[in-house]
Symmetry: C2
Subunit: 351 residues, 2 copies
């Protein structure tokens, strides 16, 4: 509530000529200019956007990280966020888990004819706020409009540039037998929130998406532990099980998880049961998995807990030479099961 | 014809598990992996894509240009190209007219459930070919799937990185009274081709889109004439009239065009008349407008003609202190009319 008020005071909603997006807003002419000037440029204002060139010009020292994501989440507004902050945080986090300080974003909209300007304004404000939180600037962009029924309200692409932390030594090749698998918080909140809303269950829970920027946490870990952090990933689509399967497959090593160590909130567990979802396969947006030198696992967790008091960060398993290429879960009652790769049919348009 | 054969020999169409895109292809799991491995990674193969990280890491010296575009062209296949090569050339040209050598692209798909894999393969092959022609590499990407009726076959975002030519001194602030306005070729081919196809007229003409990369032409001009090239723009959506209106508005200077100098092919003129379009407002994809020092106008044109024999490059007008902020066309019979800013309603989804 206070979040919304703050936005309204700082950034009054633009007064638009139309109530909703028309085909003309995508034509590159006067209406496109109105959309950009009253909306994007005034809310995200900076020297690059004011120049309105075909490209923005910057200088970046050192190694550069470059990442892209298109966001098609449905519904576009959900408890804890909307497609706007999700689009900023998603790319910010792809840069962060790669070991980079996020710096600049491009922002590209595909708007469906009929999208309410009020909704577009709200999304723009969330983009502005998320950029401020993450310390990134939108410096170039694009807006297209498609006819009603040829899109779904709004799709957003963000592409990000960051500067690699000089101590970052991350990569699949650095993962080795015995490494600890650390997770930065509780599982499955984003996906379960979206699915609850989509299934009309949102009023039965107080669940919110975990969308947020992770760069400070990630960069602090790298700055403190350097090459002892071997790999970081953000388990979005497909969840933790999918990211771990990719690691097992690409390294040829095995992964063992301990079920009772998995941090799952009661409410998430309940919603997963109701919706028939396995939290290990559900998307997260404000979470990372780190593969770290086993000797530093406790220190890493201590740092995360210090930076984020109350966090449910924990070690959930380890890299092993057993069952190469496979992710195996040791269950609470002592059994073992292989966590297969997801096919992905169950959770469309989660981000 | 020979173009198609060449692609088929070098890059056989992937054998897919499905005939068309399913929701599962966007889930981030096994089907997404299949799509990437058999399609994107095998056709666009390079070290960055093989790493499959959340971000690609690169080094770029000097000033960097950064540009993004989402492509929603309809129909996705048109005479002279398709959404794949258009998406590569479009971003390559935004970098080129900014004075940068295009280097790297991100590539992000929003696929509609039901998109035929055969069509997707064809588009991927065009992307590969266009990247080779432009000397750029796709180093990071994303793929999302939306339900049938929530998209339109395929939307593509490309975001590009280039290195600024050290001699480039381009910008609105550099445009001055008396500068010559040079155009690199004939007007309106892309837009007229799309509109002809959309209106079922494509069999009555042999018109093809002018989609192609412009970086060699642009970089050669900058290398030869340096700071005497004051501004370059590619007049895509909204056409030459819209780009010139932006220049007039942002510089506060006037622009005078000479109608009889406008390079318009007979076939384009005929199609424009049939479709009720003004070629000055129709999108181009392989064309640039350059504002150059008047003393160098002839030399610039000589260089373009040398690099592209038979090109219709010509000076179409000049910057003036008269009618500030306005673009005025001096017609063949001596009259003058103001070229207003387009609203953009007429030509949706042209790129």
């Amino acid at each position: 509530m206070s979040k919304t008020q703050k936005i309204e005071i700082k950034c009054p909603t633009p007064v638009w000529e139309f109530d909703s997006i028309t085909i003309g807003h995508g034509g590159g002419g006067r209406l496109t200019q109105e959309l950009l000037r009253k909306g994007v440029f005034s809310l995200l204002d900076n020297d690059w956007l004011r120049e309105q060139g075909d490209a923005a010009t910057i200088k970046l020292e050192g190694n550069i990280a470059f990442s892209t994501d298109s966001f098609v989440v449905s519904p576009v507004i959900f408890p804890g966020g909307n497609i706007g902050d999700l689009a900023v945080n998603g790319t910010v986090n792809d840069l962060a888990v790669s070991g980079a300080k996020p710096m600049y974003l491009s922002l590209s909209f595909i708007l469906e004819e009929g999208l309410e300007m009020k909704l577009f304004s709200r999304i723009l404000n969330s983009i502005r706020e998320a950029c401020e939180s993450a310390g990134v600037k939108v410096i170039t962009g694009d807006t297209k409009v498609v006819e009603k029924g040829k899109g779904d309200q709004i799709f957003i692409n963000t592409t990000g540039l960051g500067v690699m932390h000089p101590k970052a030594r991350l990569g699949m090749k650095r993962v080795k037998n015995g490494d600890a698998i650390v997770i930065s918080g509780p599982l499955a909140r984003h996906g379960v929130t979206i699915m609850s809303k989509r299934n009309g269950l949102e009023f039965e829970t107080s669940l919110e998406s975990d969308t947020r920027p992770l760069h400070q946490l990630c960069l602090n870990l790298i700055n403190t532990f350097g090459s002892e952090i071997h790999l970081m990933r953000d388990p979005t689509r497909g969840g933790v099980a999918t990211v771990l399967n990719e690691i097992a497959e690409q390294t040829g090593l095995g992964i063992q998880l301990i079920e009772k160590k998995l941090p799952i909130e009661d409410e998430v567990a309940g919603a997963c049961e109701m919706l028939g979802l396995d939290p290990l396969y559900v998307a997260n947006e404000g979470l990372f998995v780190a593969i770290v030198d086993r000797a530093k696992s406790k220190d890493c967790l201590d740092l995360i807990h210090k930076l984020e008091p109350g966090s449910m960060a924990t070690q959930i398993g380890e890299i092993t030479m057993e069952h190469p290429g496979k992710v195996v879960l040791k269950s609470t009652i002592g059994g073992r099961r292989v966590l297969a790769k997801a096919t992905g049919e169950l959770l469309p348009r989660i981000c």
